[in-house]
């Protein structure tokens, strides 16, 4: 619980003066992400604490090093939540790292991503200037949206020191239905359900089971449950009766935090962010489908070039999320024009390349 912004600023200024590089570290829960880190550690975890939280305004502001667990505890008391369900990755994850890595959980297609919910940031750029963008209000279109630009930048544009977020009330009731469904049918079915005006809040497929989560007002959840449970003769679900999942909260938490058995072991973990209806990439092996079809996980060795081709055919992008060769590029290759543009943007924030060299891309 301390404001260390001045100290962090000094560290950046002196690194810049001595032409040293810095490796920004929050809770160190996502060290496995991106390419191998280089540079001297710049530790942000001490820069922590909730700066303001007004439940009636649905706005929370916290220093970047604040652990998600602390935010969730404060929100719990007011029956509110981080609607983007960020993964805790062992409990150490901070709000700054969550934004920098753009990490959102199962509810993302329905409840927004961390990027969607960010209202403003404070940021130390590579010149050591402490800047404020966006704000603590829901709508703000003055200037470029530098706050949301940070999502996925993995610290390459600067050190996020403070984040303001829109938070949401918790749903009154949550229930999960499970069906026995094969992969091909699951994708179609998830999308069909998502096109209905029902309180769907997560849709995932794993091990020939389809999980549909319903959240909202009790009457709405109950009514939808009974409609969806029985009603599927003639659909790909015929033969499978929907059943209620006991202790569904721990299932969704394990999916969010990647502690399900699917995520165990050393095999490379690939993340496809693709069109929700895309035919699943033709790659035999172990798949997990989340986000109603828009996020698909694959375990196994493959070349980036091959994966790139599959992702583009499916209308999206791929990244090597965990494991494998992390000296090579792990993010979807960028078109030449976009690569140059991002290098120029990087320069506009961090002209000397102080922050996280090569972490996001080998060329940045």
């Amino acid at each position: 619980m301390a404001d260390m912004a001045n100290l962090l600023q000094q560290q950046i200024l002196s690194a810049r003066a001595d032409a040293r590089k810095l490796n920004i570290i929050g809770g160190n829960s996502k060290a496995f992400m991106g390419r191998v880190a280089s540079g001297e550690p710049l530790r942000v975890a001490g820069h922590s604490g909730i700066v303001s939280y007004q439940p009636v305004e649905l706005v929370l502001t916290a220093r970047a090093g604040t652990p998600l667990t602390e935010l969730v505890a404060a929100l719990d008391e007011q029956h509110q939540m981080l609607s983007f369900e960020p993964p805790g990755f062992g409990g150490g994850a901070t709000i700054g790292g969550t934004l920098a890595c753009n990490q959102s959980g199962p509810g993302r297609p329905w409840w927004s991503s961390v990027r969607d919910q960010v209202l403003g940031v404070r940021l130390l750029n590579g010149r050591g200037e402490h800047l404020r963008f966006g704000g603590q209000v829901m709508k703000n279109v003055a200037g470029y949206d530098v706050s949301r630009l940070q999502a996925g930048a993995m610290g390459s544009l600067g050190l996020i020191t403070e984040v303001s977020l829109k938070v949401l009330p918790k749903p009154a009731v949550t229930r999960t239905l499970v069906f026995d469904v094969a992969l091909q049918d699951a994708v179609a079915l998830m999308n069909r359900r998502a096109a209905e005006p029902k309180p769907l809040s997560a849709a995932c497929w794993l091990d020939n089971r389809l999980y549909l989560r319903l959240s909202g007002a009790r009457a709405a959840v109950d009514a939808t449950l009974s409609q969806w449970q029985g009603q599927h003769s003639g659909s790909p679900l015929s033969g499978s009766q929907g059943r209620l999942l006991e202790d569904d909260e721990s299932f969704w938490a394990a999916l969010r935090d990647q502690t399900l058995a699917f995520f165990e072991g050393e095999a490379p973990l690939w993340r496809f962010s693709i069109k929700s209806t895309a035919v699943n990439p033709d790659l035999p092996g172990n798949w997990l489908i989340d986000w109603g079809g828009a996020q698909r996980w694959y375990r196994g060795a493959a070349s980036m070039a091959q994966m790139q081709q599959l992702a583009e055919a499916a209308g999206g992008q791929v990244s090597l999320f965990r494991g494998g060769d992390r000296q090579a590029d792990v993010m979807h290759p960028q078109a030449r024009a976009l690569q140059l543009l991002q290098q120029r943007l990087k320069q506009s924030f961090d002209p000397d390349g102080v922050f996280n060299p090569g972490r996001l891309y080998s060329w940045m």
């Binding site: 007004q54 009636v56 305004e57 649905l58 927004s112 990027r115 969607d116 750029n125 800047l131 704000g135 603590q136 209000v137 829901m138 709508k139 703000n140 279109v141 003055a142 200037g143 470029y144 949206d145 530098v146 706050s147 949301r148 630009l149 940070q150 999502a151 996925g152 930048a153 544009l157 009330p169 069909r192 998502a194 096109a195 005006p197 909202g216 007002a217 009457a219 709405a220 009514a223 962010s273 693709i274 069109k275 209806t277 895309a278 209308g315 999206g316 992008q317 990244s319 960028q334 030449r336 976009l338 543009l341 290098q343 120029r344 943007l345 320069q347 924030f349 002209p351 000397d352 891309y361």
Partner: protein, 490 residues
Amino acid sequence: MTEKSKPDKARLVQLFRSFISPEYVIEDAETQRPYECDGLSMYCEMPLIVVLPDTVEQVQRVLQICHQHSVPVVARGAGTGLCAGAMPHAEGVVLSLAKFNQIISIDPLARTARVQPGVRNLAITEAAAEHGLYYGPDPSSQIACTIGGNVAENSGGVHCLKYGLTVHNILSVEMLSVAGEKLSIGSQGLDSCGMDLMALITGSEGLLGIVTEVTVKLLPQPEKAQVVMAAFDSVQKAGDAVGGIISRGIIPGGLEMMDTHAIRAAEDFAKAGYPRGAEALLLCEVDGTAEEVQEHIAQVESLFAAFGATSIRSSQSEAERALLWKGRKSAFPAVGRISPDYYCMDGTIPRGQLAHVLTEMQRMSDEYQLRVANVFHAGDGNLHPLILFDANVPGEFEKTEEFGGRILELCVEVGGCITGEHGVGIEKIRQMPIQFNEQELLQFNAIKHAFDPAGTLNPGKGVPTLRHCQEYRALETRPMPASTSDTGAA
């Protein structure tokens, strides 16, 4: 070497007419007149030339020519913007995207639509309706405004508390850089690798590139929607009631407030049955499944009663719901009838500051001797004070502008911002330094430079260019990587 000398108007017209049909290269003042301003007609300028291309290749060639000759380019959708963002540049080309009005495809299962930038906002919802889908953001100007303009302004609407702004409802854009280079940003997935360029482009007011195609998300039409209207005898009570609903865990589809001047004007105009004597009126729309709406409407009604509403009415039919909204949606033209002119402001404030801000505004209204009517996207704190004035009275517009500027300062003072959804354009450029310090403005300038080094895309709008910005850049230790257009490759 590129040729940087400026060709004269006749030469440019000739160049454009070699690939755009002559009537769509407009050079005479009379035909150009409709382009001299956007929805903020107090700011006018005649352009050098107006072009209306109808293929991406033509747009590309226009950009290449303008880039080569350092001619400013101002993109234009429907011209409904309220910040003079689409106001022409006297030495520049207005690039109208009006002819790009095709919905390319709708994918009902994936719930997406690919559209050209000149497609009207409402046209997307109308086309999606047969699939039980609609496009979320619904600016009051949705009959006319284009999706390209919406992306450029990150437009919102009465439903954005629950369904988000433009930035939350688009997946990808096809864009042309200032040099006419094609850029594909975003994808059909929900996110892309690396820094979020989609967010940077959304709301960039035509300063970073020309949007030539947009893929939007579509939402399932709710089973049911119902609106509750509640009248209050003080703004404070109405504001507290808004907080009460949110605290109760209900996120309404729309939550709008009007003050007494706006209520009367809207009622005289739309005959929606608004209580003319009320100090504040709330419209709270709840949508969702039939069961959910029933449950929430009952809660909202009892909350309004508990917060001291003097009258409460819930719509009992679609017709009644439409009527209750009609008053709100026509509030601007309604106010236009009670005054020769009005000036619409667009600040956002933390909701808790509402009563304070309205009291201060009334004080200033007395000071300037100018009436103010207020409509308010109450759920998300976006305030639209409408200052009533008469442009024919010498000096009155200047007085109005000064008053408006002070309202925006007040918004920033209480922790809000100078524009919630209308954008900065030319209009609010003087207020930018109130919200941002010099270093922040320089960072904005540096971003602009990364996209448009010569600064020919919509110059003079959005972000003030600081005088010593050039010197600042000269201090950079390394040169910027050149854009492909400058050198071919880097």
